[in-house]
Amino acid sequence: MSTEPAGISIRKLGLAFGDNEVLKDISLDIAPGEFFAFLGPSGSGKTTLLRAVAGFGPRPSGEILIGGQNVVDMPPWERNLGMVFQSYALWPHMTVRKNVAFGLEERRLPAREIAGRVEKALELVGLTKLAERRPSQLSGGQQQRVAIARTIVIEPKVLLLDEPLSNLDANLRIQMRRDIRALQQRLQLTTIFVTHDQEEANTTSDRMAVLNDGRLQQVGTPMELYDNPANLFVARFLGTANILQGSIVEEDSRKVFVSDSGVTFPMDIEGQGQRSIVFRPQNARIHCGKVTGDDAHIALPGIIMHTEFLGSIVRYGVKVGNETLLLDLPHIQGEGLINEGTEVTVLVARERILALAG
């Protein structure tokens, strides 16, 4: 399709429903052609932010620049952004073909051009054969495709997807997210994808923004965010993490971290006062028996409390001091479990430990 992909810049965006501030001071940039995800728990403001980009909801403060143009005061019908609604919002009184043609008809295009473009869009999503059906005669996945065809046929500057997979069953969801990604790559369309599911965001997006409580938490590639969360919320929200809250104290003229429950991490740490130590369950190893730490590892003695066999990995709960740490070991066929009650040493690589504020 012909339109040049547009970049999006959001500057100091704020939005309130009455006294209730739902978006607070959000600034981020999305590059032309980028697949970008808004990720956050329900109530985080991610859908409100997407709707603000599309022009729905109360007028926000700040700026939304699309292709360099501020659209904050532009009504939705002039923005030329294609939005796929969570519920698909297919009009039940129109056939698939009429649904897809709607946006072109509103643009008063010649009938022949409309017919041609509708046909092309239906072909793109593989629905040519179902063009004369009504939405109620389609499966969830097919409805989803109609909603996408209806949106891309207008050649929007940006594609906005509001939790597009949440109404599909698990298998279809994986298929659809691959299809959406492939389509986006083919059309080179700047895309914003709203989801609460980090796996969806990880697998589809080039970069993502994590939102919580109306505030932007962090922007980056999925891997950056997973490996280097900027704060405790992001660390917790993106997968499992061992988080020990504590503080930094001087001990033998060097700074060490002591958790509130009394576990000491002998390591150099920046800053002072309240801190949290974070590491992912797969970033540590378990040794049966006593081992001492070295320059690369911190050794923590503990006892196996419980085991969970999860297929490709085994998750152990290890009691260290008064903390229970979660540790994942890959499961290799033929290897058994470490018995509960076994005394072990947990070895955590120093460079994989993050110290975060709070």
Binding site: A54, W77, N80, M83, S87, A89, W91, P92, H93, R150
Partner: protein, 566 residues
Amino acid sequence: MTTQRGPAFAGLMIVLILLAFLVIPVVQVIHVAFQDPASGGLTLVNFVDFFRSSLFRESFVNSFYVAAMSVVVASIIALPLAYFTSRFNFAGAAIIQTLGFVPLIMPPFVGAVAMLLLFGENGSVNLLLDEHFGFTIPFMEGLNGVIFVQSIHYFPFILINLSAALNNVDRSMEESAQNLGARGFRLFRRIVFPLAMPGYVAGAALVFLKVFDDLGTPLLLNVNTMLAPQAYLRISSIGISDPMGYVISVILVVFSLFALWTSMLALKGKDYSTLQKGGGGMLKRDLRGGQRIAAYALILLILALVLSPHIGLTLLSFGTVWSYSPLPDAYTLEHYRMVFGSASEYITNTLLYAGLAASFDVILGTAIAYIVYRTGLRGRKWLDYIATASLAVPGVVLGIGYLRTYNDFNVPFLDKPLASWWVIIVVALTIRRLPYALRACVAALQQVSVMLEEAAQNLGATRSRTLWRVVVPLMSGGMIAGFVTSFATASVELSATIMLVSQESDAPLAFGIYEFMQSASGRGAGAALGIIAVVIVGLGTYLSHRVIERSHRQRTAERQIAEEVT
């Protein structure tokens, strides 16, 4: 599969009742319409005669015109109200919602005389208009009067259906259209209106049907050149052998079926309820200052119009003399004293008839619902179809059918024809109100999970014990609602009863009102009776509303518990 002997027997009894008091009388009416009066052979000659007579042609055109115009006027009243409630945030929405039900608690013919006094040629409004502005408006002139009274009475059918349809349009439907470039009136025309259309058509078809079949209003307004009054007058003045009454009946049935069919077609396969979880109807806007004032002014005007029959009737019932003046000369309680003294029989008769009819309706409704939805009896769906078909049978037609079928059928031990025994009135009311009670019972039964019954049977309860101890108690809310709806509407029914009342002492309220309203001197008493009818129906409606609300709350609570458990 457990034994089906009990349900089969009950089903058979119901079939016999429906055959005897619905199917056979109606078939009889149709048969007579196609029968040569002289030879008894099948013929179309009666229809030819009908359309040859200029009176009947005029009546036919008038009935059609009045019904169609009532739909138009009712739409004009209902559309802005529906639009305001679904589009804007303002307190008036609550008033409109309540207002929508107010007219329904009074049968149209009761208000007709009061409307004459308020809007007639020498009514309050025209007297005032003439005095201050020097002109009058012929609100109540001939057919205008019927259209005016009927549309004020029946517009809620459109309002309720249309509002429901509009409220079921999810806002994403509109937003996606906006996102694709549509706005303003085009958005309304291409998306919102088509989505609400089935609701509108269903309401409009119902209004058409009710107005086309109505007997009481034209009779009271002395407009006799319409189909239903003609049928009544032919039968009551010329006799039950006159074929014209039957021809008219067939035409009434055909148009009723047509209206019902239209409404079913409008709704069929078009479940446009697009509401999503978490989504909340259409986008609602706030009204600005000027708009707000205009909206309230419009709503107050419509409110005044809608309440005018009630206001007029109240004034009439307390007034001494009310003629050629905007308000009655003085006020008195005399009419009520008189009504409770000499006319109390009307009230007791009504309570008896409507009470009996509503009880039978609930029993029949429960039995039919159970047989249709809980047994595997062959042809069980037909019970539902036949019982519901009574919706398409106008009261006049049922009355004529009973007269024709049961005039020669003497009641054992009483030695008088069944057609002139008071019980036939109860039967007519039962059949007429059965569809309403049946729907309430079906809805109630569908709320009861089959698993609850299976659990009881698993623990040793027989089918009938299960029905009695599990199903009926759980259905009771819906059954009560069905009872009250049937009772309230049966207590003001006129079109069938007017044909079947054979002596004054058997007559119910509606008939009494009609009798009183015939003469100028009886209007006060008639109005007092009318107010009593309004109170009965109003109380009934309120009670059924409360019952439905309570059982709804209960169900919601039960569902929440169930969700928490699973």
